[in-house]
């Protein structure tokens, strides 16, 4: 498709059934590349299932920076099973290398029981049209005919020799398949055995015997691939001394620790649960109390209760859980309680696509709840920002005494990136106004506000109620007090808007020095979709199209003024105003229209639960530019 290949320089895909150790393969590879100084983004696609359904991981490797997204076709693909071969045969192209289990050569598409019926039907039709026999060998022949290098390896042969050598059963021997996959990718991308071993030592820290056995497997794969040409990777540029290799969930967990969070209450839900799990695993060193509540109604209540005593408190969830929390968000709002909710978006409505990503919950985060409830809404676009925003969410919650919704998505939550360790010296803890010596006449909601000096339960006497209340926190329905209190709560957002700059904080222009009046295309996006868009913008610019991205970082307080001035300039200069999002209804564009009067009337939307890929986005944007399309719906990705 392309005149130039989109970054990252190396894209690898590994596929196999859920529960077969694919994550181990990815971790070993990620750490091996990171040890050499490479930046990696590894993203996992999986079903709502524990064992048996098809899953795959995309690894992008870049010598210069963390990849901002993934692209197809991939350069290397390594498959655990036959289903992976069928599922991904079109994800490779001329020059790609495929590694697979030659023992499944004769498996036909019909025999793959774990494959969804619709997928099978579609593949059957596709193969028929291509005149390809619906077996693994048929598909591999087709790939070869397309210029793909295909290398088979007998997994069964390896397994039986492992069983003999180590006296282990079939099930245990099968676990080494994850190493076959990792080693094949490592070898085909030029890692030495010693370099691969770094990844294994990280994975199996305290179990040298496992490292040794896996290395034996790796040596077999390496010698099998001895003569296959390798994909050359440019040398890494100026790597730091250390990387922290973390998922978005872990970045938020670490951010919360750095922010001094004292209590996290949660109820398990994909893709939020790993954050709390990771925090719990480090509870003994951080001291953070991680509390597994009986439901999300309780989780937000426990966190809010803790916040009233002076603890920094948080909860993390995804759509279904957030719905249950909404009444509690309203309570925190009317009680000016600082509580931060980390909301990871997945596909909805209802349980929807439980393990797939989306940006479908923006309007929910910004507006959900009865009554009028001011809140701060921040949406991160990268792992690094997920961490810094987790710290900032706590600061803003306490400074303005307001609930903060920190919006992320499954794409960030479950992908792994290589980050430099967080420079804690650059972070500040800002607790806002605290009453040093609350007296016996302490008024928690002292007017005029918008921020009354806060005292904590345990240091003074105060009252809280979900009813409208007076300065002490006692119930009132008196009209003048009502007016004062409603205004007080909303004035928080005005004050936040005065203090938090639009330029470079609430709104980001990319490239930073782009001149809005010299653009062919101004693209509006947010979160992970914006990150892929930034990459697409670079590609478009290389092709001579003057494109720029405006990324909304804060949806409340909204960067109305700056967005409308940038958009007006671009519009006047004749630029097309395009919007890119992971949903069907273009939610961020709706907020833009509502809050800044800017109408982005051309949309690129994806709601399959799979990430937007750089190549498909560039193609869509080019088509919009060349053919004037008004709406493109993306669909790539198994």
């Amino acid at each position: 498709m392309s005149m130039d290949k989109p970054p990252p320089p190396l894209m690898a895909l590994i596929g196999g059934p859920q529960g077969a150790g694919l994550e181990t393969s990815a971790q070993v590879l990620t750490v091996a590349y990171a040890t050499l100084g490479y930046r990696v983004l590894a993203s996992r696609e999986y079903h709502s299932n524990i064992i048996g359904r098809h899953s795959y991981i995309l690894l992008g490797v870049d010598p210069a920076r963390v990849p901002r997204g993934h692209r197809y076709p991939v350069d290397v693909a390594s498959f655990m099973d036959a289903e992976s071969v069928f599922t991904h045969y079109k994800d490779v192209d001329r020059g790609s290398i495929v590694f697979y289990d030659s023992d499944v050569d004769n498996v036909s598409l019909e025999r793959i029981v774990s494959m969804e019926t619709e997928t099978k039907r579609r593949l059957r039709r596709e193969l028929e049209e291509l005149g390809v026999e619906p077996t693994v060998v048929g598909v591999t022949k087709y790939m070869k005919s397309m210029g793909v290098e295909v290398v088979g390896f007998s997994y069964r042969g390896l397994l039986s020799s492992l069983r003999r050598e180590y006296g282990i059963g079939y099930a245990e021997a099968r676990r080494y398949i994850s190493m076959v996959v990792a080693a094949s990718v490592a070898k085909l991308t030029g890692l030495s055995l010693e370099e691969l071993e770094e990844g294994l030592r990280y994975r199996f820290r305290s179990r040298p015997a496992l490292v040794e056995r896996n290395m034996a497997v790796a040596r077999r794969v390496y010698s099998h691939l001895g003569n296959v040409a390798q994909i050359a990777l440019p040398e890494p540029q100026e790597p730091p001394d250390h990387y922290m290799v973390m998922t978005g969930n872990e970045a938020v967990a670490i951010g919360k620790a750095v922010a001094g969070v004292g209590l996290q209450a949660y109820y398990p839900i994909t893709p939020a649960q790993d954050e709390s799990f990771y925090m719990e695993a480090h509870e003994d060193q951080t001291g953070i109390v991680v509390f597994q509540a009986e439901d999300e109604l309780a989780a937000i209540a426990v966190a809010t209760g803790a916040a009233l005593t002076g603890a920094r408190a948080a909860t993390a969830t995804s759509g279904p859980g957030f719905d249950l929390m909404i009444e509690g968000v309203g309570w925190a709002c009317i009680n000016e309680a600082p509580v931060a909710v980390t909301l990871y978006q997945r596909g909805g409505p209802s349980t929807g696509l439980p393990t797939r990503g989306s940006q479908e919950d923006l309007l929910d985060a910004a507006f959900a709840g009865h009554g009028e409830c001011p809140r701060i809404v921040v949406a991160s676009w990268s792992h690094e920002e997920a961490l810094t925003d987790a710290v900032e969410a706590q600061n803003l919650a306490e400074e303005y005494q307001i609930p903060v919704i920190h919006l992320l998505d499954k794409f960030l939550a479950n992908s792994v990136a290589t980050l430099p360790p967080p420079m804690t010296t650059s972070f500040q803890i800002r607790r806002g106004s605290i009453e040093p010596r609350p007296g016996s006449d302490y008024r928690r909601f002292a007017l005029p506000g918008p921020v009354s000096p806060r005292a904590f339960i345990g240091d003074a006497v105060m009252w809280y109620t979900g009813d409208e209340h007076d300065e002490y926190g006692h119930i009132t329905e008196e009209p003048e007090t009502r007016i004062a209190m409603v205004k007080k709560r909303f004035a928080k957002l005005d004050e936040a808007a005065r203090n938090i700059p639009e330029e470079g904080v609430r709104l980001h222009l990319y490239p930073e020095d782009a001149d809005p009046s010299g653009l062919d295309m101004l693209i509006h996006s947010w979160g992970t979709a914006a990150r892929v868009t930034a990459e697409a913008v670079d590609m478009l610019r290389r092709r001579g199209l003057r494109a720029a991205l405006v990324r909304v970082h804060y949806f409340s307080p909204y960067p109305s003024r700056l967005l409308s001035s940038i958009a007006a300039e671009a519009h006047q200069a004749g630029a097309r105003l395009v919007n890119v999002e992971h949903n069907y209804t273009a939610q961020a564009a709706k907020i833009a229209a509502m809050k800044s009067g800017v109408v982005f009337d051309t949309h690129v939307l994806k709601y399959t639960g799979r990430p937007i890929y750089i190549d498909e986005l560039v193609e869509a944007l080019m088509a919009i530019h060349e053919k004037g399309l008004k709406e493109v719906h993306l669909g790539h990705g198994a």
Partner: protein, 335 residues
């Protein structure tokens, strides 16, 4: 002065119906706080929604009037974050056993050191008298158009089955008895539950003061050597069974008293401390100082050490490495 019950009342006008049983509960609570000498700033009364939910506003101590059904989780957050506090939950029967029943059960599992007072009036007072989960089948109170077709929950049996380690019943208008039970409940280390029978003069014309005067009796009066306390784990089954049997009695005769106490189960706060060595000294409320501006609790080295499971040391193939984190890893558009 500290021990003057008037000191524990706010000057607000109490807006319950004249003759409501809640007045008795309020009096018992304030007198108990006074007699135990609990400092108001170290005490929190947490309520749900309903007539009963207004109680905290009338007590001079921290008052947290929460959402319908959610008093227990808010109280949980307060107690876990600041374990030195005395935290009392007040909820209606609709609140604690209807909309909040999940939390009621969960508290038993955890045995957090909270005292839960059920204002049991068998009706949804504040929404004008619908049947609550404690109203028996077939009963028709004043504002019900037709007799109740749902069965009642037995609050004592539910509390015992859920794991509460102190379970008692008292009567809103027997202030002396209520106070003595309440004192025991507050002193108890673990989840304590008191089912307080509370006449609702406006909507409940079945379980009236007159009815209770005839029906109520004290367990000790009938069984002088009644001993509800589990002192070693092997007594638990037997004492539970006796308590559950006694709790079945409802109708013409209704027992009051302490049904069940288990001192062998560790409170939740100890369970947290056992796996989180920093908890006892630095509970969540004390992790940061009260300074408005401060440094994060960890240095970069500490972050790298705490989360060393995610740390990878870079060893490039050749030695041309600068050592300092490159600006590439902190892209300008993100800083």
């Amino acid at each position: 002065m500290e021990h003057d019950p008037r000191r524990y009342r706010t000057p607000l006008w109490v807006d319950w119906c004249p003759g409501c049983g809640n007045y008795g509960i309020l009096q018992a609570v304030t007198e108990t706080l006074a007699e135990l000498g609990l400092p108001p700033e170290k005490t929190a009364i947490v309520s749900g929604i309903g007539c009963s939910g207004k109680t905290p506003h009338y007590v001079y101590a921290n008052g947290v009037h929460t959402l319908h059904g959610r008093a227990i989780p808010y109280a949980t957050g307060i107690k876990l974050a600041r374990p030195e506090l005395t935290v009392i939950v007040e909820g209606g029967d609709g609140d604690l056993l209807g909309i909040g029943a999940g939390h009621f059960v969960a508290l038993g599992r955890r045995n957090i050191d909270l005292t839960v007072i059920l204002h049991n009036n068998q009706v949804y007072g504040l929404t004008k008298g619908q049947a609550s989960p404690t109203l028996p089948y077939g009963v028709k109170t004043k504002s019900l158009p037709k007799p109740n077709i749902q069965d009642m929950i037995n609050p004592l049996a539910l509390a015992i089955a859920s794991g509460y380690t102190f379970v008692a019943r008292s009567y809103a208008l027997d202030i002396k008895h209520l106070k003595s039970v309440l004192k025991e409940a507050i002193r108890h280390r673990g989840a304590a539950f008191i089912d307080v029978l509370q006449p609702c003069v406006t909507y409940n014309n079945v379980y009236t003061v007159h009815f209770y005067r005839k029906a109520l009796y004290r367990i000790e009066d009938e069984e002088p050597d009644w001993d509800p306390i589990v002192r070693s784990p092997d007594e638990e089954t037997e004492k539970k069974a006796a308590a559950l049997a006694r709790a079945q009695e409802w109708g013409r005769r209704i027992p009051l008293g302490i049904f069940y106490v288990n001192k062998t189960r560790s409170p939740f706060e100890h369970r947290i401390a056992a796996r989180n060595p920093l908890y006892a000294e630095h509970p969540p409320a004390n992790r940061l100082s009260r300074e408005p501006q401060q440094q994060p609790p960890y240095t970069i080295e500490e972050v790298m050490s705490i989360f060393k499971d995610r740390l990878v040391k870079v060893k490039t193939r050749n030695a041309r490495r600068s050592g300092i984190p490159s600006s590439r890893d902190r892209s300008p558009e993100e800083s």
